[in-house]
Symmetry: C2
Subunit: 236 residues, 2 copies
């Protein structure tokens, strides 16, 4: 079990409040725009830095001693990031696309911070469930549902089923404990079966959400209609 994902073509590692492309919007508080691939240096982060994602996508990850990388969570708009949400473990964050951040003052909204912490825990536990004794297809199906919840913009009325899959195949692999090849095979299997559709690998459409949910819950191709599991989060 090896073959660490080759070191990401790393953008410069920056302390969280020196991210590139800073802007100063109306309110006076600094807004930040991150380039895809920008790494936020969160390990020895000083206390007060907490931000909220306005748009884009960030992954939280941990690099293991043997070079393997484990992505802990993938965060979309509305989710928070920073000191209090950071644990003792060495961890880092990486922008997966152009991402806008907004500073959060923990004094002004302590509730939001506590809520974010609970959300992180709930999602971490949901992810444990996704990883424990589940097949590759179950994991991928659950991941697609999770990400669609975070990144599909819901029109009023019916939910849009098309969304941008910001994490690349390698990111999904590192998140779900699989290999790039397996991720690709599963996605294409789902496409052949008509559960999802995509022309370019990054734009995914969910064609049969119910079937995907069955897959995520352990139902095989021949559907076993049962309650769905997991799926925590979504846009607040």
């Amino acid at each position: 079990m090896l073959n660490p994902t080759p070191p990401v073509a790393a953008a410069p590692v920056l302390p969280i409040d020196q991210a590139p492309f800073s802007g100063a919007p109306a309110g006076g508080a600094a807004l930040r725009l991150l380039l895809p691939g920008t790494a936020l240096f969160l390990e020895g982060l000083h206390a007060a830095a907490t931000v909220r994602i306005l748009s884009g996508c960030v992954c939280l990850h941990q690099t293991l001693s043997d070079g393997r990388r484990q992505i802990l969570d993938i965060l979309g708009p509305g989710r928070m990031l920073g000191a209090a949400l950071l644990d003792t473990q060495p961890a880092g964050a990486l922008a997966l696309t152009f991402t806008r951040l907004e500073p959060v003052d923990p004094e002004r909204e302590p509730e939001a911070l506590a809520g974010a912490l609970r959300l992180r825990l709930a999602r971490a536990q949901a992810h444990v469930v996704r990883l424990g004794r589940r097949t590759a297809q179950e994991r991928i199906a659950a991941a697609l549902l999770d990400l669609s919840g975070q990144f599909a913009r819901r029109g009023r009325g019916a939910a849009h089923t098309r969304f941008t899959l910001y994490p690349k195949r390698a990111d999904l692999a590192d998140w779900l404990g699989l290999t790039v090849e397996t991720v690709s095979r599963c996605l294409n299997a789902f496409r052949r079966e008509g559960l999802i559709a995509f022309d370019r690998p990054e734009i995914v459409t969910i064609r049969d959400r119910a079937a995907l949910e069955r897959r995520a819950a352990g139902g095989s191709a021949a559907g076993n209609p049962s309650m769905l599991s997991g799926q925590t989060g979504g846009q607040p």
Copy 2:
């Protein structure tokens, strides 16, 4: 991927403040003693109930729609359990041995509660790392180190290396996303190699902690000395 663990020979499911064998110790606050196999009903738990484990062992678990069970965490003395630490997900707790609980007043020690929440998150993330793309032996090795940290009573001076493995093989399997057979095979492989020792399956001695740490970090039998990973928690 199936074969749900057969339904645990379940003890009665009780609201957390009606656990059997209640006692009233000196302080006036109620102490509770749980029998092995006692299930604490945590799903729709009303707000104020929070307890601290004084002795024994409790596992937090989630039962999936298809009957499979995922153990989220295994808690030893000092760890807390209850409302604020409980997430939206349907979850339950199970005493794995005789367990004494002490009620905690969130008003009197809000810090402890916040700390417990952070510890839970840190451990959940560590567990994600354990489950993601790691071999059975790596998972078992990491689990043994974790549990020894929580359950080996440290004499002053050198740490004791013998501890009670409260979770049974089936519990370990449900925790680590493996099967009972694989858990048994790994433990016996470690024993044959002299990393650990046990006469009865429940009393384990760590004979070569450094080697176990290498295994947990991904080193094969032919050791690759590298930094250890994971292992969060321990007795406070």
